[in-house]
């Protein structure tokens, strides 16, 4: 039971639903300092990602051999790299890659995990046993190891990266949703729907899923930073986004050899990752507290 709680990040479904019905959630999120910080950081990040070309002073890919390896200055706040590219502009554009890839991967994870968890919880029995066994099996392989193997076997690049991380990350969603579905299935409106001969698919989509969705949203918000870290890690290892694309992990990897002399190249994208991760974690935490005030997070 405890394992279950840790894996599902301590989300309490029934309490969460009650809170949604109060629909004071947005107000409660910004009530705490952490929530305010989360909203501010993630809001800024999203704006930066959307308006990256406007925010960035330079072309993130354009090389300039007259201004290579320059330390931070007014012209180049984060300095330049060995090709004379403006690191600040690269980090700004990196927001797009981080959020874009992170969210796309998350969407695939949710589609896969929610579908399997929903089917497992709804049908129970052998179907459930088979799906949950698959989850157990997948959980026995460390995430990065499996992701590396999948992305590597597929030859590296963006599409393999998405496939690999989606294949690794759906497990948590499946577990969470399956538990929630089983609890929703105990409610009598499910039986009422069965008594009205409502089709299985419609029961799942109209009755079960909406009542299990609150915890999915919280869990997704808390998973996004983890996915962003994984994307950066795989790119750093050369199994994800490749240079000259301004992806944070790839920028760090490219500046790695110059750390002693041009420290700024690798330092700033790392800070950008930290800020992003802190922002989404704070938002997720505040969301959970707002949705279910009684449940405090073991972090």
């Amino acid at each position: 039971m405890l394992r279950e709680r840790i894996r599902t990040a301590g989300i309490n479904l029934k309490g969460t639903l009650r809170a949604i019905r109060d629909s004071k959630v947005p107000a409660r999120v910004v009530q705490s300092n952490a929530g305010l910080l989360g909203v501010a950081l993630t809001g800024t990040l999203i704006l930066v990602a959307v308006f990256a070309p406007e925010v960035a002073p330079h072309d993130p890919i354009a090389q300039n051999y007259d201004a290579t390896n320059q330390p931070p200055s007014l012209e180049h706040p984060f300095g330049t790299d060995r090709f004379g590219r403006d690191v600040f502009s690269r980090v700004i554009h990196g927001t797009r890659w981080a959020l874009g890839l992170g969210i796309s991967i998350l969407v695939f994870q949710i589609l896969l995990g929610v579908t399997l968890g929903l089917v497992a919880g709804y049908y129970g029995g052998l179907v459930e046993a088979a799906i949950m066994r698959l989850v157990d099996v997948m959980l026995a392989i460390p995430g990065i190891v499996l992701a590396l193997a999948i992305a590597g076997m597929m030859g590296g690049g963006i599409f393999p990266l998405v496939v690999a991380l989606a294949a690794v990350g759906w497990r948590g969603f499946a577990r969470l949703v399956r538990g929630d579905v089983k609890s929703v299935m105990e409610d009598e409106y499910i039986e009422a729907a069965e008594a009205a001969a409502v089709s299985d698919v419609r029961i799942m989509l109209r009755h079960v899923l909406p009542n299990a969705s609150a915890s999915i949203i919280v869990y997704a918000t808390l998973t996004l930073p983890a996915v962003i870290l994984q994307v950066a890690a795989l790119s750093f290892l050369g199994m994800g986004v490749n240079p000259p694309t301004p992806e944070w992990g790839a920028i760090i990897e490219a500046g790695r050899d110059q750390l002693q002399t041009e420290w700024w190249i690798s330092t700033f994208p790392g800070l950008a990752i930290m800020i992003t991760v802190i922002g989404f974690n704070a938002l997720g935490d505040a969301l959970r507290d707002a949705l279910d005030p009684k449940q405090s997070r073991p972090l």
Partner: protein, 302 residues
């Protein structure tokens, strides 16, 4: 555990179907002659039906034969045997560091709830958790190896259990352990809090110092149950962390071999390493289950 392991082997052996085009050619490169490619194809069993391939591979693995590297021709088991100790050493020390940081800090934060220590441990946790481990590794190298030259930049000592050994191990193990300690500190704190607030502890608190000590020992033991659970969940995370950190610190472990083999398309090696990692996770899970029975006599596996 056995059925799970069995499932893992199915997934591992199907990894090769993800490879685009001819896996043999991908591994050997375009210049390779047709004969060599044919040989590797036969070795990989590419042309056999799925189940034949799987059964062949599994029988070999069960007999301890993990095949040979496509790239170097070395037996895979020898390659793994050479690298495994380095990874185990790194992971175990990283785990120790996690505990050395997290247990006292978590307990202290719980006992002095809302003090500067509590807030500090919270900030500490968030800080480490949000840092990409490879980046942390680079920063550590930059500060402790390049600037202050306290520790060597990278690599692994030839000696064992010496000061030199420790100096090479310190940075990579800390880079993995500190990150995990962030989470463990918070968990230790909340699980300790839960127990401290139970009635019998409150009563003892009122009675004075002597009984307090006894009770806190007892509370610690109870608080360990969720911690042990977390340790079980940490093992795959520590392993995941070690893969990246091995690259950053040029640590000659399994993780580096994995990344190298993935980049070289050395399929037999990749498959074998994934299998070994999964076995480590499963063994750790088993150990966790066993330690439950020690910590909480009520839990039995009948």
């Amino acid at each position: 555990m056995i059925p799970v392991l069995f499932g893992v082997t199915v997934i591992i052996s199907s990894l090769i179907y993800l490879a685009p085009g001819d896996p043999a050619r991908a591994a050997l490169g375009n210049q390779a002659d047709a004969e060599a490619i044919q040989e590797v194809r036969a070795d990989l069993g590419v042309d056999d039906p799925i189940y034949v391939r799987y059964v062949d591979w599994l029988t070999d693995v069960l007999q301890g034969d993990m095949g040979t590297s496509i790239v170097t021709g070395e037996p895979v088991s020898a390659m793994i045997a050479e690298r495994l100790p380095a990874t185990l050493e790194l992971s175990i020390v990283a785990m120790l560091i996690t505990f050395i940081i997290a247990l006292p800090l978590g307990v202290a934060a719980a006992v002095r709830q809302y003090s500067w220590l509590d807030t500090g441990s919270m900030i500490f946790a968030i800080f480490w958790l949000s840092m990409p481990s490879f980046w942390l590794g680079l920063i550590l190298i930059f500060l402790f190896a390049v600037q202050w030259q306290i520790f060597p930049i990278s690599g692994r000592a030839d000696s064992f259990l010496t000061l030199e050994w420790l100096s090479y191990l310190a940075l990579p193990a800390f880079a993995i352990g500190a990150r995990r300690a962030g989470l463990l500190t918070r968990l230790m704190r909340s699980s300790m809090l839960e127990i401290i607030n139970e009635d019998y502890i409150r009563t003892a608190k009122g009675k004075g110092i002597g009984s307090q000590a006894v009770v806190y020992t007892h509370a610690m033991k109870n608080a360990m149950i969720p911690v042990v659970t977390l340790v079980g969940l940490q093992v795959p995370l520590i392993i995941s962390g070690s893969v990246i950190i091995e690259i950053v610190f040029a640590w000659p472990g399994l993780g580096r071999l994995l990344v190298d083999s993935v980049l070289r398309r050395d399929y037999p090696v990749v498959q074998a390493i994934v299998l070994v990692y999964s076995c480590l996770v499963l063994v750790a899970n088993l150990a966790v289950d066993v330690s439950y029975t020690y910590l909480d006599p009520r839990i039995t596996y009948d």
